[in-house]
């Protein structure tokens, strides 16, 4: 832990003013001369053959400039890895879920584009739809993807340690099955894109994308154009939560329509289209068995997961991999067996959602841990402390934990929530629940995985940073500017962050797995250090001291231990720029080259650095007559290493908790018997709003990660991971009712209370 001037401080967000004043421009606000408006025609069937599409009437409508279908594309399927590529840019030959895009139009205005959609006639031959994992896995089931031999799109089996023996040696064993529902992602800014193609064929893509690198690769491959013919520019982005990684139908359609018309094309889809037909979280069935010693020490886990994930694979293999891997953290567990299946159905595509499938893994695990603790009479805090992973631990599958503040996190949330006192005097229908979780600070996927940044020092002593990360609202630009200011001895406001543009910087592989602070941060820090080195050489010459003796602080370059001897940062800079004709640009790259690619087939390997730890305690009140749950307080703690900006970290903790609270209590995508989602608008699909945010207490346990910039780890994605378990455990503590199938609805609680009264 260092003594920092800017890092670790509650610096206001760089983008606060444009955002809160409504001046920030998002993709849907952008306008280019001659711009056309695009719309997508969607499938009304969950499963059907496309016999014929007649676009002639639409094309003849005045104002329509182009109509495209799946046939206009080069016929290449998209996926997160080559071997998992199963999704065409627009439906081709068949539709596999309600809402799959089958055609797109570009017109002079939105009304004309909408009208044109009605004039496209699509002849479908409806096929029986497969809507549940159970149906999909049945022998002889209808195939969702007829090119495959079955509907199990991916499966995996892990084995760490000797599970059979460990269960035999356990003092107590219990198994349970947990079920979690499909949820939609729900960001406030809808999917939107403005694509323009110039006369040379170069595409400029300004979209609401979380990981523009992933989208760029998809576009290049799916449209068969070289990468240098695509320029990705990020406007402001209004949240993503893993729903905006890959190139969606609208992204492909906007580019193709622009290619066809030679005019810019903007497409903004509606929230109802998004809720009902874009990325969702898998519905899962998780069977889990835990073996413990009588003092609560965890000995073995056996787990089987079936993940129902819709018509295309998305990042399915990664989704099921992560559940198995995160049985290893955040508790010591030497023997683990795991098997999982990711299943195709005729429903919208599932993929990553904030916290990944780890959220679901922790729900089952933390629930069962509480049940086991209750059965063997061990305190629920003690059982977590006893098993908490510690500094230097290596997990059963080989993950290396360098630093863990988990024990302190658990102790502090228990104290803050008043656990001990609550046991002495229990208020009826009030309860406290705990849960913990972990996430890596970024990982590798296939393809390029390094981070790049450059810092340009301007002649007035201010700096502009370019990095390959993406500001989605999580605050990356602010904390990167803080890191630059810290290294160069500048103030936070001296550093601006330039536009994220693939023509100027190599884009990061993507904003996933809490990567930005750690990976992008290390590259940014290296870039600032490179600039500092260049300036230090000039200053050392002027001050006649060795470079190593120089310190950069408070806009000064001073000699360590001799503060009298110093130069203003600006005069050093001008010495370089005006005296020596030497512009100062620092460049930095970073990658964890000593970690392993995730092995989807074995689950073995240390696939990340900077494992983060989270412990949460929530207090709920349940109305025994209405079954309503009110979360009164959430005590949120994390070990995010050295927080770069505690204020933004507080925001991440709270946002992550509320996000996951939605899955715990409110959200569920409900489908009718034909595979149409029935609650597809915010009128019926309810996410938590500000009224659902409880009182918060924020705790940051500071550790010093050996690899992270300034000792930092990631935190934002991890922040929501324990909430399902914590809320379910608190509801149980309040009522004695154990809910094993989400969401926790009032009806389920009342039913549980009835069963209880019946003496069952």
């Amino acid at each position: 832990m260092g003594d920092y001037a800017v890092v670790g401080k509650r610096v206001p967000r760089i983008d606060a003013v444009p955002k809160v004043t409504g001046k920030a421009t998002y993709a849907g606000d952008l306008v280019l001369p001659g711009m056309l408006h695009g719309k997508l025609l969607r499938s009304p069937y969950a499963h059907a053959e496309i016999v014929h599409i007649d676009t002639r009437r639409a094309e003849k409508l005045p104002g329509v400039r182009a109509v495209i279908t799946g046939k206009d594309f080069p016929g290449r399927n998209i996926g997160f890895m080559k071997k998992y590529s199963d999704r065409p840019p627009l439906a081709l030959g068949k539709v596999r879920y309600v809402g799959e895009a089958v055609a797109a139009v570009a017109a002079e205005d939105e009304d004309t584009a909408e009208q044109a959609l009605e004039l496209i006639s699509v002849e479908y031959k409806e096929l029986p739809a497969v809507l549940t994992a159970e149906e999909a896995m049945r022998e002889g089931a209808i195939l969702v993807n007829e090119g495959k031999s079955r509907n199990i799109a991916a499966e995996t089996k892990f084995l760490f340690g000797d599970v059979e023996k460990a269960f035999q040696e356990s003092d107590y064993v219990r198994e349970e099955t947990f079920r979690t529902q499909r949820i939609s992602i729900g960001f406030i800014e809808p999917h939107a894109v403005l694509a323009s193609v110039d006369a040379s064929g170069k595409v400029t893509f300004q979209g609401s994308k979380q990981s523009p690198y992933i989208t760029m690769r998809h576009l290049a491959y799916g449209l068969d154009i070289p990468l240098n013919k695509i320029r990705m520019i990020n406007p402001y982005i209004g949240g993503a939560f893993s729903g905006k990684h890959d190139a969606h139908d609208l992204d492909f359609a906007a580019v193709m329509l622009s290619q066809k018309t030679g005019r810019p094309v903007r497409i903004v889809v509606s929230q109802s289209e998004i809720i009902g037909s874009y990325r969702q979280r898998h519905s899962k069935e998780m069977w889990l068995k835990l073996g413990v010693k009588k003092d609560g020490t965890l000995v073995a886990a056996d787990c089987r997961v079936i993940a129902e994930g819709g018509a295309y694979l998305g990042v399915g293999p990664l989704n099921i991999y992560l559940i198995g891997v995160f049985l290893n953290l955040p508790y010591r567990l030497p023997n683990i067996r795991y098997e999982a299946y990711r299943v195709y159905t005729n429903k919208p595509i599932c993929g990553a959602v904030r916290g990944q499938s780890i959220v679901v893994c922790r729900y089952g695990f933390e629930s069962l841990l509480d049940m086991v603790a209750g059965d063997i009479g061990v305190d629920r805090v003690d059982i977590r402390l006893k098993n908490a992973i510690r500094n230097g631990d290596r997990t059963a599958n080989g993950m290396q934990v360098d630093t863990s503040g988990l024990t302190e996190c658990i102790e502090r949330v228990a104290e803050k929530v008043g656990w001990e006192e609550s046991r002495k005097k229990k208020t009826p229908y009030r309860g406290i629940g705990f849960a913990c979780g972990s996430l890596p600070s970024g990982s590798r996927l296939g393809g390029h995985f390094g981070a790049l940044a450059s810092v340009n020092i301007l002649e007035d002593g201010t700096a502009v940073l370019h990095h390959g990360g993406t500001e989605l609202g999580q605050g990356i630009d602010t904390i990167m500017a803080q890191m630059v200011a810290e290294v160069l001895g500048l103030r936070a406001e001296d550093v601006q962050v330039g536009i994220e543009d693939s023509d100027m910087v190599t884009l990061d592989p993507g904003m996933f797995a809490d990567r930005a602070t750690f990976w992008t941060g290390n590259a940014v820090k290296a870039a600032a250090e490179d600039a500092r080195r260049q300036l230090a050489e000039v200053a050392a010459e002027a001050l006649q001291v060795p470079v190593e003796e120089l310190e950069f602080r408070d806009r000064q370059v001073c000699v360590r231990n001799n503060p009298e001897k110093s130069l203003a940062f600006l005069s050093v800079l001008r010495g370089a720029m005006y005296g020596l004709g030497m512009p100062i640009i620092g460049r930095g790259t970073w990658a964890a080259r000593d970690i392993e690619l995730p092995d989807f087939s074995t689950g073995i390997g240390n696939f990340a650095h900077g494992y983060e730890f989270i412990a949460q305690a929530v207090e709920v009140e349940v109305d025994p007559e209405t079954g309503r749950v009110k979360v009164l307080r959430a005590v949120l703690s994390d070990d995010a290493g050295q927080p770069i900006n505690p204020m933004l970290l507080d925001g991440q903790q709270e946002g992550g908790f509320v996000f996951t609270k939605g899955q715990a209590l409110y959200e569920e995508c409900i489908f009718d018997e034909r595979g149409q989602q029935v609650n597809y608008s915010f009128m019926d699909y309810k996410m938590p709003g500000v009224m659902e945010a409880p009182e918060f207490e924020n705790i940051h346990v500071i550790t010093n990660d050996p690899y992270g910039p300034f000792g930092a780890k990631g935190a934002g994605e991890a922040s929501g991971i324990p909430a399902l378990g914590a809320i379910a455990n608190a509801v149980h503590d309040a009522t004695g009712v154990r809910i094993k199938e989400l969401p926790i609805t009032p009806e389920k609680i009342l039913e549980g209370l009835r069963v209880q009264k019946g003496g069952k």
Partner: protein, 293 residues
């Protein structure tokens, strides 16, 4: 066409903004079946985007003026202009003091942006089974003033809604005023609700209670309005009869609440809605009795 696309841009229509009521009524008559009245627009515009309704003419009432008043005197009782917004009603010190159940219902509706546009008249004419203004206005025995080129008439709210999203309004008729009689002394009311899922959400069950209790604890008058438990908001008449003229006790309140639940015919989540009707009626009666004690 897929249902998913059905929240679209507004369809084309002709916008008319008459300056007088008679002009508005004439336009309605003239464009029979092709026109819709616009008050706050919080329901109509959504319905148009959904293509539930595609009117050729939208006739705004907003240029007529003086349709958003809140007036009260002891003789006439409360007079609410149909265009009074939910927020004005919720904020009105007069209504908060004398007709608190109505202020509570209006303050519950959606969020401030919608409350600032949405009107009490519009809420009733939209005739959604879960319309929050209806249960308290039923309990208050509101009368609605309907104006047409043939003149005016008064209709009790209890006869106004004929089914989900349908009313007895005839072509050319405009709801202009909601009339609520003055309350006797020792009357108190309460509106309690549960939303469907989250706090800012459609009402799952709404229960409005208005009761007069004599100093010796006899229920002199009671009215119970329920929302979202049948095709239209309803009165729980049998539950009222159980209480009327009897000494109020927790046991009697329980019986009445159970009776009220038995008078409901909810379509979705029926068991839960029925159970919650009982809970809410019991709670609102109990609170009112406590207040009058």
């Amino acid at each position: 066409m897929s249902v998913i696309l059905n929240l679209r841009r507004l369809p084309e229509f002709t916008y008319l903004a008459p300056k007088t009521l008679s002009e508005a009524s004439n336009l309605l008559q003239k464009y029979q079946g092709k026109a819709k009245l616009l008050a706050g627009g919080t329901d109509l515009l959504v319905r148009m985007k959904e293509r539930w309704v595609v009117p050729e003419y939208v006739i705004s009432l907003n240029k007529i003026g003086d349709l958003d008043y809140i007036r009260h005197d002891e003789k006439e009782g409360l007079r609410l202009g149909a265009l009074a917004t939910h927020q004005t009603v919720a904020n009105s010190s007069l209504i908060k003091e004398k007709y608190r159940l109505l202020a509570e219902a209006c303050g519950k509706i959606a969020h401030p942006q919608v409350r600032n546009r949405g009107t009490v008249g519009g809420n009733l004419c939209n005739a959604c089974p879960s319309a929050d203004t209806a249960p308290p206005l039923l309990a208050l025995e509101a009368q609605l003033k309907l104006v047409s080129s043939n003149g005016e008439k008064l209709v009790p709210l209890s006869e106004f809604m004929s089914g989900p999203f349908t009313t007895i309004l005839k072509e050319g008729e405009i709801l202009t005023e909601i009339q609520v009689p003055d309350l006797p002394p020792r009357a108190a009311g309460k509106y309690l609700w549960l939303s469907k899922i989250t706090e800012i959400d459609e009402t799952l069950v709404g229960a409005a209670v208005l009761m007069t209790v004599s100093s010796d604890g006899i229920c002199q008058q009671v009215r119970i309005g329920l929302g979202s438990v049948d095709q239209t908001p309803i009165r729980a008449a049998k539950a009222e009869a159980l209480l009327q003229g009897h000494k109020v006790s927790p046991k009697l309140i329980n019986e009445a609440a159970r009776q009220a639940a038995g008078e409901t015919k909810p379509r979705s989540r029926p068991e839960y809605r029925r159970e919650m009707t009982e809970v809410l009626v019991r709670r609102s009666l109990t609170q009112v009795v406590k207040e009058l004690d």
